[in-house]
Amino acid sequence: MDIADREARLPLPDGFLRWFAMRGWLPRAHQLELLRKAREGRSTLLIAPTGAGKTLAGFLPTLGELSEKHLSPPAGRGRFAREASKPGEGQIALSEAAPHPTRFAPPSPRERGEGRGLHTLYISPLKALAVDIARNLEAPIAEMELPIKVETRTGDTPVSRRQRQRRYPPDILLTTPEQMALLLASDDAPFLFSSLRRVVLDELHALVTSKRGDLLSLALARLWRLAPQMRAIGLSATVADPESLARFLVPQPESRTAAADIVTAGGAAAPVVEMLDTSERLPWAGHSARHALAEVYDLIRRNRTTLVFVNTRSQAEMLFQDLWRINDDGLAIALHHGSLDVAQRRKVEQAMTAGRLRGVVCTSSLDLGVDWGDVDLVINIGAPKGSSRLMQRIGRANHRLDEASRAVLVPANRFEVLECRVAIDAVNENAQDTPPLRSGALDVLAQHVLGCACGEPFHADQLFDEVRTAAPYANLARADFDDVIDFVATGGYALKTYERFARIRQDKDGRWRVANPRVRQSYRLNVGTIVEEAMLKVKLVRSRHGGRNGSKGSTGAIARGGRMLGEIEEYFIEGLVAGDTFVFGGEIVRYEALVEDQVYVSRANDDSPKVPSYMGGKFPLSTYLAERVRNLLDDKRAWNGLPDQVREWLSLQASFSRVPHAREMIVESFPRADKHYLVCYPFEGRLAHQTLGMLLTRRLERMRVRPLGFVANEYALAIWMLGDASTMIRQRRLDLDALFDPDMLGDDLEAWLAESALMKRTFRSCAIISGLIARRFTGEEKSRRQVLFSTDLVYDVLRKHQPDHVLLRAARADAATGLLDIRRLSDMLARIKGRITHKPLDHISPLAVPVMLEIGREAVYGEASDELLAEAAEDLVKEAMER
């Protein structure tokens, strides 16, 4: 099909074809397909790899339509007068006699406001991305001389411009889900959106996995009502289940599902991914991959620009430091993660865009978004966690579609070798493991209901119907909806005492409206679903004590002020005592004191930080990769594809204990020093294992096995105890089937949730999102530390007095998948039921070494074994291997 053919079938305006030709481009098949769908009035999901011209594809229909409007015969200013008579009407047919495009004098705002209104909304998860896209749109618009006005609206947009945008909207507005919610929560929303023809949702695969996706879906539902003619275009990376994602883009009818059309861009060259074939000894545990440092450095040296992904901030810090220590060539290597000061991040991004950097060590803060030009290699340090996640990262290398992206995976320990191996296989098969579409959270719905009440008053019945058009809320029960309304109005307490303090009230027609302007103001300040970990500002000050051992902390006598280094998670700081050293902002610092929400640190001269962070990252190993790892273990022939060290390790395990079959779970028990250990291998990720550990220790406690502590990693869980588990199991005083029975998810789980700090954190975020607790107050600013504390108290009281309260229900729903990963645990318990194999051993097994080495690195409870803390890794390894 040549251009002429295409043109005949799909009249892309002349100017566009010329523009493509001028750049030596051909419109790609998926770009044309998307244009066709737009003409047919279809909502469409475009699935395309990075570098496929996805964003341009998303905007082409809009640019086409808007230029057609303007390329119709110009009759001076009358053009606008003509359009003014039919505001918001459908597109004007392309004139046969389109003149050569000329740059019109921009119409006055007044003309714009009367004549056109908003045509297209573009929503992206990152405001930086919105700004970047605006810049990228400027080129075609200027080069084709299209009289199209594009503006961004983010948290940084000045108030004056926001006001102008409401009155005189641009043709294309680029914004974020939160700003979108704010625009909808006003009484001029019908005016602003009635002319809307299209919404473009970028990075949809990323948005829909979180509560931001819920918020966005509710905004879409609102738009479908305000602008029934509006169609959606979703832009997404490849996902496991495109059909369900496509549902997100169209209103869901009552009692069945509907989905947008799907266009898939083909033709991307398959990425070339390999595992680093290290000549060093592979570590047993840890996530730093220090052993491969020289090899990683060498890769950076041999490539033009390399992105080095790691899973956590602290790993990024550590690796950055280590690289600079051996950077004899003085390569420009930079650091980028979400906790760094914004100004510092911008500097790195600019240097990157300008091609001045050879390497950037970064976290998932760069998983999305901004096009950084010529990255020719991606290195992924540590566990890939999931195949889709890995593919998206790899896609950051080389934004040219027809050239293969290159990536090197660097496993940080032996288990990660297995994970990397199966991840590479998955990438080669293009097997996706993105999570299924969420069902909409009730706390987000509460925020939306309040937002609606801030706009035009609503009838509950109508809003219920509207909300159910949003795919995540399609199955929302009326009772839940009513509870949410009740919650927003008076808190939803069985003890109805807050009628007179209601935030929304019904008028005499039964329509809900916001009770007073203060509520509206508070909504505006608190909109959004991103509840960050409570973060504290880190400031560099001069040390109070020259010496290495700081006295125990007190909050006095520290010079206030100092340079801001960035922000750090509160829970990390809570684990420190003054004088502890850790890595932050690329240097080793000493914790001095915590004053309100500021952490004071001083520069330390230590060689290595006292407090490392071994967190493997926020995301657990995906269920999909976990299954592949189990299958790999089960398939001895496939071991040939593994490095020698790993193959030997597994063979030793096979001869000393047992290598688990794909569907069985092995439980090993062995004595060590004066304690007994129980190690099991569920392969379900650290979060689910931690929950399992909490529940198992409760049970073992009740069975009088006297557990002392446990430690979990992504693959295994080890519990140590005073009781002799091997003997108890042999004598049938301890029944493993009963121990791992799924009924632990009943009372034991409830009892644990009562005191779980993770559950309290989960509740806190629901309380904030739902609007129970404000993050930001008008006038008086309450620090986040106070908010954290008071939600814990609220959790305790509410749990005792109204355990079925809608917020507790929301928090429990989050616990199923979030920090506690209960659903996955539940699936696992069902999977292994009747398939547990016990191996009583005299000593630690080779497979158990990695998790045993985590002991002492992670938090443990009780009179944890100081002996173990002191023992070196080599001893354990020797014990396991030299038999």
């Binding site: 008076t490 808190g491 307490y493 003890l495 005492t497 807050y498 303090f501 935030r503 203060r518 509520v519 508070s522 125990k552 902390g553 007190s554 909050t555 006095g556 809570e574 684990g575 420190l576 005592v577 003054a578 407090v611 406690e701 005191e755 129970l772 607790i773 404000a774 106070q786 504390f789 008071s790 108290l793 609220v794 305790d796 009281v797 509410l798 005792k800 007095h801 109204q802 309260h805 002492g856 992670e858 938090a859 443990v860 409870y861 009780g862 009179e863 944890a864």
Partner: protein, 246 residues
């Protein structure tokens, strides 16, 4: 409050006990100017000899106080606080109860007491003397609440007042002391009594009362030397040197 428990220690109690000088249950002995008190796990202080029970900073109706400002906290805090108070009163059966100030969260709070809560309060006051010390949150308590209202009370060398001055023999509240301890990367925060043997600052008793770290300089003004945090654990008290807290 679990007084008769043979339950295994909770995680938190394990951790606290690692740092503790001594553990005690149900209450920790606490000396103030040579007078022996018991620091109870509930946050109350008991004077055996006088059969006198002290609780501080109940902050009743704090939930509804927030509600008047549009923050609709669950309205169960008064009920929860009074229920805990009832348990500790039933346990010690005191002749005198002193509420050490900030018993009500705001000057109007007492008017918002629900009828059942008001009855529960009256039941606690029956057959004993009840003294409301006024605090900064409730400077002018009405007299129809039962009991008597005072700004401070002195008894046998001990003086009870809301805001601490550091005087020897003083038992005060106001500051809501809490202690944070961390070992081995884990940390937790609990309410505590702060005491150096000469004077004591009591923990807040109210369900919604937050806390102030004992490392705050406000405590340095009251205690010139190191002092002990009698930390409220899950099933026992833990006496921990303030300097070991963070």
């Amino acid at each position: 409050m679990i007084y008769e428990s043979d339950e295994p220690l909770s995680d938190s109690d394990h951790l606290l006990s690692v740092l503790a000088i001594n553990d005690a249950r149900p209450g920790s002995p606490l000396l103030v100017a040579a007078v022996a008190f018991v620091a109870d796990l509930s946050g109350a202080l008991f004077w055996e000899q006088e059969r006198l029970l002290v609780v501080s900073d109940l902050h009743l109706e704090k939930g509804s106080s927030f509600a008047t400002r549009g923050v609709l906290l669950p309205p169960y805090d008064t009920q929860a606080t009074l229920a805990r108070l009832a348990t500790v009163i039933a346990h010690y059966d005191p002749c005198i109860v002193i509420a050490l100030g900030d018993s009500f969260h705001d000057p109007d709070a007492h008017q918002r007491l629900s009828a059942p809560d008001r009855e529960a309060l009256s039941a606690l006051q029956a057959r004993r003397d009840w003294i409301w010390i006024s605090g900064n949150h409730d400077p002018a308590l009405p007299c129809d609440l039962g009991g008597v209202v005072a700004t401070e009370v002195a008894l046998g060398g001990i003086v009870f007042r809301h805001e601490p001055t550091g005087e020897v023999g003083e038992i005060a509240g106001h500051l809501h002391p809490k202690a944070r301890v961390s070992t081995r990367g884990r940390s937790m925060e609990r309410r505590c009594f702060a005491s150096d043997g000469e004077r004591t600052v009591m923990p807040a008793f109210g369900a919604y009362a937050g806390g102030l770290s004992i490392r705050d300089r406000a405590f340095a003004r009251i205690f010139s030397t190191d002092f002990v945090a009698h930390v409220l654990g899950d099933s026992r008290m833990h006496a921990i040197a303030a300097s070991r807290c963070c």
